[in-house]
Point group: C2
Chain length 300, copies 2
């Protein structure tokens, strides 16, 4: 499988990394790039991430058989509307958005019957830094990608979409959009919100800066995600607010339980609770780090 | 500065790593070990971490000019009482406990006037795995150590204590015990409690296991500390309950603020809050990673 032309719509960290990785994997022959701010696309060209810069999204997708939409999820509908007139009927379109129900609704509104060309995708990875300067051909390696295909999607289209990510070194799974959003709220979106809240709480204390100076490796790792890009995470939390708020309530309940045990100095119960969660976390492995299963037949 | 004999009281991860590092740094000539469970001390000897195994803490400190107490903070008083009869008047004693007010009280109760020999110390590092098998000569390198000396401590004693840690590659700071406990509650103890609560909340959901399978690098890093040793962390949270519960309340407040913004879909305010905390976290550096200042005059 080789694509003649990848159209990269949005020249930031995620899109740029995809273009670099796709080229390295021999998956695409040339790359056209478009970004809302002309500067990003020009930087992408200067860095060798895209070969040509297009003035509009519509021009960018002309001649492309693979299109990657790497824009804020809130821009999905408007961006798809603008590129649609230039899109070839056989081109495969995917996104990289962290939420999927809103992306599906936006894509359906923009594409109508041509939704069959758009396979929603979410690679579960990223960096704390945004922008094409940080694009990294290895970003997707050993990471999980969730596809959320719909009944309108042909088996062959989904299989082709899967193969694209597999060629970049990803493990691919399929999930219903609603389940995707609930799961990602639990293991990604809410953890970010909790990390933001934790930093906010620290900074609100008069001694906050003094305390921050004493953070060690545990602090460093547990708050790494609090440095996430503000635009991206604001977008994600608002787009997936229902499941995110449900997780916040769950954390609130669990924290109250632990606080109660500490307050009552209930050592056996506290030890039991910590031992249970600590064991589960010690046993946990990131899916990308587990050897993939043998190649399976095309998804059904 | 070379010590004739290090007495290691408690042969676990922290103590074993100290012994290995001290030997590597040429800081100690020989090491005697004692542990409550004979098995740990014997393993330490088999692994070459200690040269000899003592049957009691009192025997272990005989002939020692440096004593490291590496036992659960709740065992501090009893352990010091038991070793005191064997302790030489010139020996320097330190601990590695994560809380300091309770350690100071326990040490004062056990040692009385000989408290001047005991300099409370807390190296801010660790691993998610306990036990002598995981002892690591590099554990303390580039890490911060907090000493909490009291008016009873001679300047020379504190300077000697500082020098021990510096020789292991640590940055050393001094703090009052109460401030230490507040600061560590903020950047270490409560983050562990929050991580335990978060895992507890995930595991309490019917789809929890399914969600866990989708965790990526952000989940991995932000929950690493949730795998912490149950005995150690139960001990720490109960010993430092006041400051820990105060931090829990702060998080609760900050989280409620974020939840309100998400619920009201208040994009400008949410973006502003995230941008502020994200910038602060991006600018943060772990003290151990910052080049140390030029050598200072002895602490006063």
């Amino acid at each position: 499988m080789v694509f003649e032309q990848l159209a990269l719509i949005g020249c930031g960290l995620m899109g740029g990394s995809f273009a670099l990785a796709a080229r390295e994997a021999g998956l695409v022959k040339r790359v056209s790039g478009y970004s809302r701010s002309a500067h990003s696309a020009q930087r992408a060209q200067a860095l060798g991430v895209v070969d040509t810069v297009a003035a509009t999204a519509e021009q960018c997708v002309q001649g492309a058989d693979l299109v990657l939409l790497a824009v804020p999820v809130a821009s999905t509908e408007a961006t798809l509307r603008s590129l649609l007139p230039g899109l070839a009927p056989h081109a495969l379109v995917m996104d990289v958005g962290s939420t999927k129900q809103d992306v599906v609704l936006a894509a359906q509104a923009a594409m109508g019957e041509r939704m069959a060309q758009f396979v929603p995708a979410h690679p579960i990875c990223g960096k704390e830094v945004a922008g094409i300067e940080h694009a990294d051909a290895k970003l997707y390696q050993h990471q999980q990608v969730i596809l959320t295909p719909l009944p309108c999607h042909a088996q062959a289209t989904v299989a082709q979409a899967s193969e694209v990510w597999r060629r970049l070194g990803c493990r691919v799974r399929e999930l219903a959009p609603a389940l995707h959003d609930q799961a990602l709220a639990a293991v990604s979106h809410f953890p970010h919100m909790m990390a933001f809240a934790f930093m906010h709480s620290l900074m609100a204390q008069p001694e906050g800066e003094q305390f921050l100076a004493l953070g060690g490796p545990g602090f460093r790792d547990s708050t790494r995600i609090a440095a996430g890009d503000a635009d991206l995470w604001c977008d994600v939390l608002l787009a997936n607010s229902g499941p995110v708020l449900a997780q916040a309530q769950g954390l609130r309940r669990a924290l109250a339980e632990l606080e109660g045990l500490v307050q009552r100095q209930d050592r056996p119960a506290l030890r039991g609770l910590i031992a249970q969660v600590s064991q589960r976390r010690a046993d946990w492995r990131m899916a990308g780090d587990i050897a993939p299963p043998p190649p399976s037949s095309p998804a059904d």
